[in-house]
Subunit: 143 residues, 2 copies
């Protein structure tokens, strides 16, 4: 059988590089950089940013973070760090959700694509581990 | 500062164990087992199943699979294997989406919770790697 070519994703996929670390009862997520965002339909007239959520949210801690906003561009160095205090046992029941978003008309947050990382067995220790994650277009997910 | 307890998830989270393998230009996903599904609101009157999607879909290959249906229960051995032919380069641009679903009224598919796995840097080689992934309730995601 012929191998599949990459018809569905001719431009490749947008990706985000994250650094994950768990140290001293604190989980930190570093949004390092974005790559190949031109594979998404970035709205030219709106700035884009990355939204980070650690789910399910605990009632007594912040779980939602947003980077600064940047003009739409294909690649971007972000280097912003977000952290929350969480026990290791609770962390292993969380899922990290990272979305590329913009603020549209009337201040409405619109997300274009995202990655989701189960922390059940994710190796994140004292040393920051950096990895690339594909950003799946939310159009593909809801179809 | 006091550590967070796990208020948001008092029963823990539902989880799925997957086996991922890439061999001979073929990607296979084994749905091994489900655990702690009582953390979700399983509808008593409907059977549940696992839906596996490799996204974005390529036009000339199947990308959507469903396991058999099972009566709602907290833990379940599934052991069903799904595979598709895909080049390694294309695979690295895909995202695996795994959802726990049931067929509701009028045959409508309803998904309760899911995991998403970026295959950009996922280590899956000749040997099957088995890992647990948290199933994030879709209620949490869309809030």
């Amino acid at each position: 059988a012929p191998l599949l070519q990459d018809e569905a994703c001719p431009l490749g996929c947008a990706r985000v590089q994250l650094g994950l670390r768990y140290q001293d009862q604190r989980f930190t997520v570093t949004v390092l950089q974005l790559d190949n965002c031109s594979a998404l339909c970035l709205p030219e007239e709106h700035n884009m940013y990355v939204r980070v959520v650690v789910l399910p949210c605990s009632e007594n801690a912040r779980c939602l973070f947003r980077t600064r906003s940047y003009p739409p561009q294909a690649t971007l160095e972000v280097n912003e760090v977000f952290g929350l205090a969480v026990s290791h046992n609770a962390l292993r029941q969380k899922t990290l959700r990272v979305d590329l978003c913009y603020t549209g008309r009337w201040g409405r947050e619109t997300c274009l694509a995202g990655a989701q990382v189960s922390l059940a067995e994710e190796r994140c220790g004292d040393e920051q581990s950096s990895r690339w994650f594909n950003l799946l277009s939310l159009v593909d997910v809801t179809e």
